[in-house]
């Protein structure tokens, strides 16, 4: 990267000649106001806020006003930010924006973290000269997640640029013109994009705000905040949680250059409301009665003393919680809380990433891939932010078109105009058509075994020493040639797969392709999606298969079963569960929401959610990331690992000094399990980082908050687990990037303050990328190609293969309990190809009987022409269908008919 010397108000500074001047000035720490520019969206030059004076040479004393975002950095560029004319112009732009802007600040949700407020103060504009009327609008209902208040709009274009151009959405648009542009839908209705929630951060004013926050509104300065990790899928996007008065209020994006970047998905942003669900368990329950903590621990202690204790871990519980359970029951009595098939898939992924030459891609790597094959995954529903990154990846290869015309990469609309619809190669082979298909070069829908066969064939086309797949159709051979050529021609090819198909072959085929590419000298990356926030972590714990727990219970080698943060009724059919539970004498469950498993428990211990706990998750990339508690519960809720520790002490297995703080536990865990050796590096320890306030220095009411209970201000809760404090008081020194509780800087109250924390705007946070990658590819060359190639899928007479169809809202367990998201859940259905439906004699929305995996359901028919013949679809994870282990063959019969009829395929 070359460096240019530019002069800003006569000071020589170093800047990147591939950037525009606004980007450079902000990275150098100058306070230059802007609206329409965004590091992820580039420059369009609409708002005119970032004007500076540019001088041609030393003799030019008058200079010319230019927009910094539209002016390239070049060697010798000379500008002035402080020039009087530039200052006056920037204030005049604010004056223009204020003509129509309502005097809403006191009642506007954005107030206190409003970019418009910040920029107004920054320009010095103060008094209002405009005395005429303001244009007003009727607002739209856009769904339960995003609120609409158009009067506040300053026409910066960011919303439609993000929604349509960046995120690929269609139903938000700009209407009308002049000073009354309207950003909305053609009619009221729920915004269709899974990324609509980012509008609340992208919008610099209060047009788009968090509708869930609105129900329990709190100003940003009044929130107690902490750095957290999203729990709603395996990507581990970094978030900032905010609470007040002991209840969780909202989540916002926390910038991580390698993971989520600037954006979250709606499930991650709005799923947090499960923490405040009426289903929360906040006190111990002993035989369904509320018990005191001492009573509960006494009972737990005596159960433990009886011996024969086994534990079932969880892919949504932290490493620390899983480890504590594992230590308590012993490694041989610690079992995976997922079906055996899933554990096998997870361990397959581990093996692939450990033994082979392909590297596990970060989301940043995903964005910069220039040829991608997705094999057997619905990325938009399962790992949404990866889909957002993939939408940017298809622009990589086409940047050469803009380069050829000497159009700078940051000149966004000019680049898009030159590139038009050209996209880099993205191939999607899945069991049903996915929302990402609209940017794909080629798509292919088939049953999982056929997807695997396609993958193995592509690997063979890349490297003839990889096993062959004979008997494929000419159309498939053409597709295989197209895909293999594209992957071989790329600088950064990427394979995406995952566990959603529940097919080991599919994942092995994806790995095969990546390995074949590596062998051909093309360093391919691999990305496997995982369903839950700590699936990867659980598998690193080396749990024994769930079926062995069942066996242990059946053979009476288990008296007490401890279930950690897991609703087993979602993992296995109810009949199996009931039999299982009858086989144990004591069932202890640690969890946060009431569910069928807690209902069956003798002892329920209230486990802390992510908001009430510190811990570590390992995301699907293999990155261990630490999340921190934001609120100190006033109830008996505490981390699962603390319950297990105290139970162990109560039973006399360990003494009080064991694991007094999180760091002790992490040290023990990292020492005992080499695979987790890097966990301590995920975040600094309690003592290493001083004292960091969770509360901003305008946090109000601290001394009066509990005065109705007692006028004596209570001592702030202690935090032995981290350097963060439940306080407004910070120690000196810079905050390490993994511990930043909120982004705020003087004059920058909005989320744009993140600029001040990055080494360069759009680059990693100062202090480096956070989290610790746990797996890197092997340097050994001893890996072998997979040779087990499945046979071609054959539709079975009288039966259909049920595959899971994923939904961003509904397939994930916790977010379903969020009040906003609960309004967006699909109704249970069974999806059929219209030809199949016609043969069965059913129409859309009619009921049909589905018998699978020992269970029977009456479900509404949904027609999907993208489903292959012989295949039907069920919404994944949606009760009451969540315990059906898919894929599975099923029988279908129209209501009233006895036998299903199915003609020739």
């Amino acid at each position: 990267m070359t460096v240019a010397t530019i002069f800003i108000d006569n000071e020589p500074r170093q800047a990147n000649p591939e950037q525009n001047l606004l980007h450079a000035c902000l990275s150098l720490g100058y306070d230059l106001p802007y609206f329409c520019w965004h590091p992820a969206l580039g420059s369009v030059g609409a708002c005119r806020q970032c004007a500076v004076k540019q001088f041609r040479n030393e003799q030019d004393t008058a200079g010319k006003l230019v927009m910094a975002c539209m002016t390239p950095v070049a060697e010798g560029t000379s500008i002035s930010i402080a020039d009087a004319e530039a200052v006056a112009f920037r204030a005049a732009v604010i004056q223009g924006l204020m003509q129509n802007h309502p005097h809403d600040c006191p009642v506007c949700d954005e107030g206190g973290e409003c970019h418009l407020q910040d920029m107004t103060v920054m320009t010095g504009h103060r008094s209002r000269g405009y005395s005429f009327g303001k244009r007003t609008f009727r607002n739209q209902y856009l769904g339960p997640l995003v609120n609409h208040e158009m009067n506040r709009c300053i026409q910066c274009q960011r919303c439609v640029r993000f929604y349509r151009e960046y995120a690929g959405g269609h139903d938000l648009n700009a209407f009308h013109l002049r000073d009354s542009i309207y950003y909305g839908r053609h009619e009221d209705g729920v915004l269709e994009s899974e990324f609509s929630g980012n509008l609340v951060e992208i919008c610099p004013t209060g047009v788009f705000t968090d509708a869930t926050l609105k129900r329990h509104y709190t100003r940003k300065w009044d929130l107690q905040m902490a750095p957290s990790i999203c729990v709603h899928c395996g990507l581990g996007c970094n978030t900032t949680a905010g609470e007040r008065y002991g209840s969780l209020r909202r989540m916002v994006n926390r910038y991580n250059h390698e993971v989520n970047g600037y954006f979250l998905c709606d499930r991650g942003r709005f799923g947090y409301e499960f923490v405040e669900s009426s289903q929360r368990i906040r006190y111990p329950l002993l035989n369904h009665q509320v018990a005191t903590k001492d009573e509960a621990l006494e009972h737990l202690g005596s159960m433990l003393l009886e011996g024969n204790v086994i534990g079932i871990g969880s892919p949504r519980a932290s490493l620390e919680a899983n480890y504590a359970l594992r230590r308590l029951v012993g490694p041989n009595r610690f079992y995976a809380g997922v079906p055996d098939e899933d554990l096998l898939l997870l361990s397959t992924i581990l093996r692939i990433l450990r033994e082979g030459p392909a590297r596990s891609a970060s989301l940043n790597d995903v964005e910069h891939s220039d040829a991608v094959l997705i094999l057997g995954e619905d990325v938009t529903s399962v790992a949404p932010v990866m889909a957002l990154r993939l939408r940017q990846s298809v622009r990589q290869a086409t940047m050469r078109i803009a380069d050829g015309l000497h159009i700078p990469t940051w000149l966004d609309h000019a680049v898009r105009e030159a590139v038009q619809d050209a996209k880099g190669p993205l191939f999607i082979a899945s069991s049903y058509s996915t929302k990402l298909d609209d940017i794909a070069t080629t798509t292919y829908q088939a049953a999982p075994d056929d997807l695997a066969r396609l993958g193995f064939a592509i690997a063979h086309a890349i490297d003839a020493t990889a096993p062959e797949v004979p008997g494929l159709s000419p159309e498939l051979e053409t597709m295989i040639a197209e895909i293999s050529t594209a992957l071989l021609g790329a600088q950064h090819p990427l394979l995406v797969s995952g566990v959603s198909c529940r097919s080991r072959s599919v994942m092995e085929a994806a790995a095969q392709i990546a390995w074949a590419l590596c062998k051909a000298g093309r360093p391919a990356n691999l990305s496997f999606t995982m369903p839950e926030c700590n699936s990867f972590g659980l598998s690193l714990m080396e749990p024994r298969p769930f079926s062995e727990a069942v066996r242990a219970i059946k053979s009476e080698q288990a008296s007490t079963l401890i279930v950690l943060e897991n609703d087993l009724f979602r993992r296995v059919p109810a009949s199996e569960m009931t039999a299982l539970l009858r086989g144990v004498r004591h069932l202890v469950v640690l969890d946060h929401l009431a569910n069928a498993t807690t209902e069956a428990a003798e002892l329920v211990l209230p486990a802390g959610t992510f908001a009430e706990s510190d811990g570590t998750f390992v995301n699907s990339e293999g990155r261990a990331q630490r999340f921190f508690q934001v609120l100190a519960p006033s109830t008996d809720v505490q981390e699962s690992w603390r319950w297990l520790r105290e139970g162990s002490v109560a039973a006399g297995f360990s003494n009080e000094t064991q694991w007094q703080s999180l760091d002790d536990l992490i040290t023990a865990m990292a020492t005992e399990m080499p695979a987790l050796g890097a966990i301590p590096a995920a975040a600094p320890s309690h003592s290493a980082a001083g004292k960091i306030a969770r509360e901003p220095n305008r946090y109000s009411g601290r001394t009066a908050m509990l005065a109705n209970i007692s006028v004596h201000e209570p001592k702030p809760p202690d935090d032995p687990d981290s350097a963060l404090a439940f306080s407004m008081e910070s120690g000196p020194g810079t905050v390490p990037p993994s511990l930043i509780p909120f982004f705020w800087a003087p004059g920058w109250n909005s989320i744009q303050a993140v600029n001040k924390f990055q080494s360069e705007v759009g680059e990693p946070l100062r202090g480096g990328v956070t989290g610790a990658r746990l797996i890197e590819p092997s340097q050994e060359s001893g890996w072998q190609y997979f040779s087990a190639i499945p046979l071609q899928f054959k539709a079975q007479s009288g039966e259909w293969l049920l595959v899971p169809i994923f939904h961003i809202f509904g397939s994930e367990e916790l977010s379903r309990h969020a009040q906003g998201i609960a309004q967006l859940l699909p109704r249970p259905y069974v999806a059929l190809n219209p030809i199949e439906a016609a043969l069965l004699g059913v129409k859309a929305r009619e009921q049909i009987k589905v018998t699978a995996d020992g269970a029977q359901f009456e479900l509404e028919v949904m027609l999907r022409a993208d489903l292959p013949r012989g295949v039907a679809g069920l919404p994944a994870g949606l009760p009451p269908l969540d315990s059906v282990l898919l894929p599975a063959f099923c029988k279908l019969s129209p209501i009233g008919a006895e036998v299903s009829t199915r003609g020739a395929p």
């Binding site: 539209m70 002049r178 159009i407």
Partner: protein
């Protein structure tokens, strides 16, 4: 004097038919051009000193010289006729299209050939229904006669023209906003660079040219650049279709040598002011040009001279202000139009024009104050070239800034007397 542009016009105002057009020498320019090398045609146009007649006056040959040529150039290349004539006071292109549609078509084909364009569009103002009908017929006739289509007149050159009626809005006349509109996007302008010659319609090399400009092209090829230069009375080549509207005796259009003085147009051709009215000023080239007043009446109406006088030739169609019409009211009428047509992309334009229009309206109602006068002056500086995203708002300020200069007393009277003195 020679009138290459309007010489064929029929007195009954019907369109010149193909047969009549050919009899008068039509499509001979095309035949001659097809025997030349494309780059040579551009040279001819450069030498002719033809400048864009849409308002900006950019040298046409130079504009074409930036189009990448040769076998490595991106294709398809486009030639677009900007027929979105919406400048208030301008109606010259309408006459050209209604009265002699084949002239525009021939000009387009020659221009397209010069830049090796494959596809042509006429972006036509939607309200020009008569032009639409006559152009559509002429295009079909040209197609049938092999002036358009594949292997034109056996030359091996292929070119097709599509006629597109705009869905509306003045900003579509801005060449890059036009391209966005043609692509089906919102009609706001694009930044330059990159210029349309590099990344234009669908990201491909494109020339957008005004109707009147194009109508000159094949004449230059037919009769040569020297002939074209000699038509003019000054440095800029060719004739110009001048127009006059306002309270003159004979408003209308006249094809005259480029550089004809303003007084001559107003008095000799437009017949001078109506009985009882005196000349106060005129916008020489449509609504978005600065007022010229009595002291400027001898200005030769070409690009350079009008600029020296403090205005712009623009489209060369004058809007005349008489002494019985309120200048503030006239400027309000214009600013009302501009405020209405702001595309909404950049802050100074959409905010400044709205405020300007509201002030002028209030002034006309007798509700304007001194601060409002200051604001008006402020807006003329705020909405300056470079401060805004395109030239629309600076153009909108031209009548206002010149009115504030030349009719300052009239503005002052509105404020001091709390009324419009003309009512």
């Amino acid at each position: 004097m020679e009138k290459p542009l309007t010489g064929n016009f029929r007195t009954d105002r019907e369109a010149v038919s193909l047969a009549e057009y050919e009899r008068a020498g039509g499509y001979q320019g095309l035949r001659k051009a097809l025997l030349m090398a494309p780059a040579d045609i551009t040279e001819l146009v450069k030498k002719s000193n033809l400048r864009g007649r849409g308002g900006a006056g950019f040298p046409t040959g130079m504009k074409w010289s930036f189009v990448p040529m040769g076998k490595d150039a991106p294709h398809p290349k486009y030639l677009v006729a900007n027929a979105d004539e919406m400048e208030p006071g301008t109606f010259k292109d309408r006459a050209l299209m209604e009265r002699d549609p084949h002239q525009l078509i021939e000009g387009m084909i020659v221009a397209a050939y010069a830049i090796e364009a494959d596809i042509g569009y006429i972006f036509l103002r939607g309200e020009y229904e008569c032009s639409h009908e006559r152009l559509a017929r002429a295009i079909a006739e040209a197609q049938a006669s092999n002036y358009l289509g594949r292997n034109i007149l056996g030359s091996g050159y292929n070119f097709e023209i599509h006629l597109h009626a705009s869905a509306g809005r003045y900003i579509c006349g801005e060449e890059t906003a036009l391209l966005n509109a043609l692509e089906g996007k919102r009609a706001h302008p694009r930044t330059k660079p990159p210029f349309p010659q590099i990344s234009g319609l669908w990201g491909k090399p494109t020339i957008v040219q005004n109707v009147e400009t194009l109508c000159n092209v094949h004449h230059i090829v037919s009769k040569g650049p020297e002939w074209f230069r000699h038509l003019s009375r000054t440095e800029d080549g060719g004739t110009k279709i001048y127009g006059v509207s306002g309270k003159v005796k004979k408003p209308g259009l006249w094809e005259l040598p480029m550089g004809t003085p303003m007084r001559e147009i107003l008095e000799d051709h437009a017949g001078g002011m109506r009985e009882g009215l005196r000349f106060r000023g005129a916008l020489p080239g449509g609504a978005s040009t600065d007022f010229l007043v009595e002291q400027h009446l001898d200005t030769p109406m070409d690009y350079g001279n009008v600029q020296k006088a403090g205005s712009r030739l623009g489209t060369g169609t004058m809007v005349v202000l008489d002494d019985q019409t309120c200048p503030v009211g006239m400027v309000w009428n214009l600013e009302h139009f501009f405020a209405q047509e702001s595309c909404g992309w950049c802050t100074p334009c959409w905010s400044g024009l709205a405020w300007t229009e509201k002030i002028l309206f209030a002034m006309e109602q007798g509700k304007g104050g001194s601060r409002d006068l200051e604001t008006l002056t402020f807006q003329t500086k705020f909405l300056a070239p470079g401060n805004t995203f395109c030239a629309f708002a600076p153009g909108a300020m031209e009548p206002l800034q010149s009115a504030l200069k030349y009719f300052a007393d009239d503005f002052r009277r509105h404020v001091d007397e709390h009324r419009c003195p003309w009512r």
